[in-house]
């Protein structure tokens, strides 16, 4: 929900409620005042009649009007302390039932006790009240409308800088060299927001740069000692001639160094991918890379007695040459590693997707786990277990979608070029 809508909703509800409560209170106050007025005129009438009877000792003749009439009848018992009451009575002149205010009192005249009922019509009071309510409702409607219009005009204007800020945040990329720079705004809150955002992004930017430098330095600091170990091992190897056990031990050290170095490079690549440090602005011929990589791996394919079926069309993508090579190389390596001897590898490249299928040794792989880091189909120490994680991360960076399926005894890895 938009802030403006939310604000309007609360505002309108509050206004309506206030006006309702106000109107109800107004109604009762007005009713009270008008009834009081009627009561006073009823009392005045009573006094006039009493006064007339005292002077003339006979009932006066009082003509009936539309809003006041008097009924006199002989009384059975005296009424003390008469109080006016409200009730519905038939108005003879108006020929309809209407609400009235009635005062009944007893008075002795001509030697008899009479009960005198004075009626005052409340119709006019009711009419007045109705009118007042109508006016109130109209006022509410008018006020709400004006509120709405003013707010809409004002709010959109006032919130414009906010949306501007929002747009710049949306468009901001961490890998860009400059941190976010939002301008000054006349409204304090927005200005504070911009200021905080500027500070925050510049801090994030510094952290990002520090991280970037760290990964690069870490690479340097790690690979150099590894280079020392490797070169020393190689030198030692020359002295190990004739000592089979020593040589085997040295070679296992060399293997470990190699693995460590590869593992480190892979993790570094993953970090760089996660940091979005690659710009995908090269036109890459995927078919050419496929053929190259296949030629490179030919020895391996032959060694594993794998047959390859290629169905490749020319596909040009806006991508990154190096990443494309890693992507395809990792896919191939994975396939070669896990295809049983004498198995078949099918590579299909058409505009839209690249699919690599291979004969499976066992059942379907775990969909959720295969793209996880350090997940290995079988416990082998040789591979890093990062190959497919890198494939997935590259696809994520490039906006591709990579899927795995198990179809009729074959593993199928497919990369869709638009996700």
């Amino acid at each position: 929900m938009k802030l403006f809508t939310k604000y309007n909703r609360i505002n309108i509800t509050a206004t309506i409620l206030t006006f309702l409560v106000g109107s109800i209170a107004f109604y009762f106050v007005l009713d009270y005042v008008l009834t009081g007025q009627l009561d006073r005129s009823l009392r005045a009438e009573q006094q006039e009649i009493t006064k007339y009877i005292k002077e003339h000792d006979k009932l006066p003749y009082i003509p009936e009007t539309k809003h006041q009439w008097i009924e006199v009848e002989p009384a059975v018992a005296a009424v003390y302390d008469p109080e006016p009451v409200t009730e519905e009575t038939f108005n003879k002149l108006e020929r309809e039932k209407e609400p009235v205010r009635k005062l009944i009192f007893t008075i002795p005249a001509e030697g008899k006790l009479y009960k005198v009922s004075v009626y005052q019509s409340k119709t006019e009071t009711e009419d007045l009240l109705q009118l007042i309510i109508l006016v109130t409702v109209c006022m509410i409607a008018l006020i709400l409308l004006s509120h709405y219009l003013i707010n809409r005009k004002l709010m959109t204007g006032i919130w414009k800088p906010f949306y501007k800020t929002l747009d710049s945040i949306k468009a901001h990329q961490l890998s860009v060299k400059e941190p976010l720079q939002l301008g000054k705004e006349p409204i304090d809150e927005i200005d504070q927001l911009n200021d905080s955002l500027n500070k925050m992004t510049s801090r994030i930017h510094q952290d990002y740069l520090a991280l970037k430098t760290f990964t690069e330095n870490a690479s340097h600091e790690m690979q150099t000692p590894l280079a020392v170990i490797r070169s020393r091992v190689e030198s030692l190897l020359q002295d190990a001639e004739g000592k089979e056990r020593t040589m085997q031990q040295l070679l296992s050290i060399e293997d470990a160094v190699l693995r460590l170095s590869r593992l480190h490079q892979s993790l570094l690549l993953l970090t760089k991918l996660e940091n979005r440090q690659f710009h995908l602005n090269e036109t890459v011929n995927l078919a050419a890379i496929l053929k190259n990589k296949l030629a490179e791996k030919e020895d391996l394919l032959t060694a594993h007695k794998l047959s390859v079926v290629m169905n490749v069309e020319d596909v040009l993508l806006n991508f990154h040459q190096h990443l494309a090579e890693i992507l395809i190389s990792n896919l191939f390596s994975n396939v070669i590693r896990y295809t049983p001897e004498g198995g078949c590898v099918e590579v299909t490249l058409v505009p839209g997707y690249l699919s690599v299928k291979n004969t499976a040794t066992g059942d379907a792989l775990d969909h959720d786990k295969i793209f996880q880091r350090f997940y290995k189909g079988e416990q082998s120490v040789e591979n890093t277990g990062l190959g497919l994680a890198i494939v997935k991360e590259i696809c994520l960076v490039a906006g591709f979608a990579v899927t795995y399926q198990y179809i009729q005894g074959k593993h199928d890895f497919t990369i869709h070029f638009s996700s």
């Binding site: 690979q223 280079a227 070169s231 030198s235 020359q238 070679l251 190699l258 490179e296 082998s380």
Partner: protein, 225 residues
């Protein structure tokens, strides 16, 4: 053949000096940017082994100065920074080759040999090992003046063995030289064995001595005087 090594990691530098000296090169070494500049100002080298990250400067700057002075020293960059941009920048600045740490010394040696061949003989040189002769320009191998028909991989393998003659080369080193860093199958190096077997067969058939020795199946060594 004079080689200058500019590398700040002393142990690594010393290992390289020992190794390259043993391979018959005349080695000098420095461990800082400043000393490196001094050396290249007064001397010429056949090849300079250059580390990019030095404590007091960047190896790329040394490379730039070399090229500004129109020096013809061959340069091979060794760097821990595997980042592609660095590699491209290094090669664009005029380096002859780029090797990422950690590397095999045998790999360094074969690359230096290639650079020196290119610089000194315009790539045209014949390497002799026993009665085997390798013409690196035409990429042909002859034994007793008779050409041996080798595949590309067998040729590369032979050259690698010959340049690193009388040294034990591990399967890892051979695999990395022939198939590059992409090669991540240490478990299955059987195909190296088959390449070696084929190469030996062809050389012996042509009348060469069988000088490639297997070291318990873990490595190989070419024994030539």
């Amino acid at each position: 053949m004079k080689i200058l090594i500019i590398e700040d990691e002393v142990t690594l530098k010393q290992t390289m000096v020992d190794f390259l000296s043993a391979a018959g090169y005349l080695c000098e070494s420095v461990s800082s940017y400043k000393d490196g500049l001094e050396k290249i100002e007064y001397h010429n080298y056949d090849c300079i082994v250059l580390d990019i990250m030095l404590p007091d400067g960047s190896g790329l700057d040394i490379l730039q100065l070399l090229k500004q002075d129109k020096k013809t020293d061959g340069v091979i960059i060794i760097s821990a920074k595997g980042a592609l941009e660095d590699k491209i920048e290094g090669l664009q600045l005029g380096a002859d080759d780029y090797l990422i740490k950690p590397f095999h010394l045998s790999e360094l040696s074969v690359r230096i040999a290639a650079i020196i061949r290119r610089k000194n003989f315009n790539g045209h040189t014949v390497i002799t090992a026993g009665n085997i002769q390798i013409d690196t320009n035409g990429k042909t191998v002859t034994v007793h003046k008779q050409q041996v028909d080798l595949t590309q991989k067998e040729y590369q393998l032979l050259l690698f063995l010959v340049v690193n003659r009388n040294r034990i080369l591990s399967k890892n080193a051979i695999a990395q030289h022939l198939w590059g860093d992409d090669m991540d199958f240490p478990a299955n190096y059987d195909f190296i064995y088959s390449h070696i077997k084929n190469l030996r067969k062809k050389l012996v058939a042509a009348g060469a001595e069988d000088c490639i020795k297997s070291m318990y199946g873990e490595g190989y060594k070419m024994l030539v005087p």
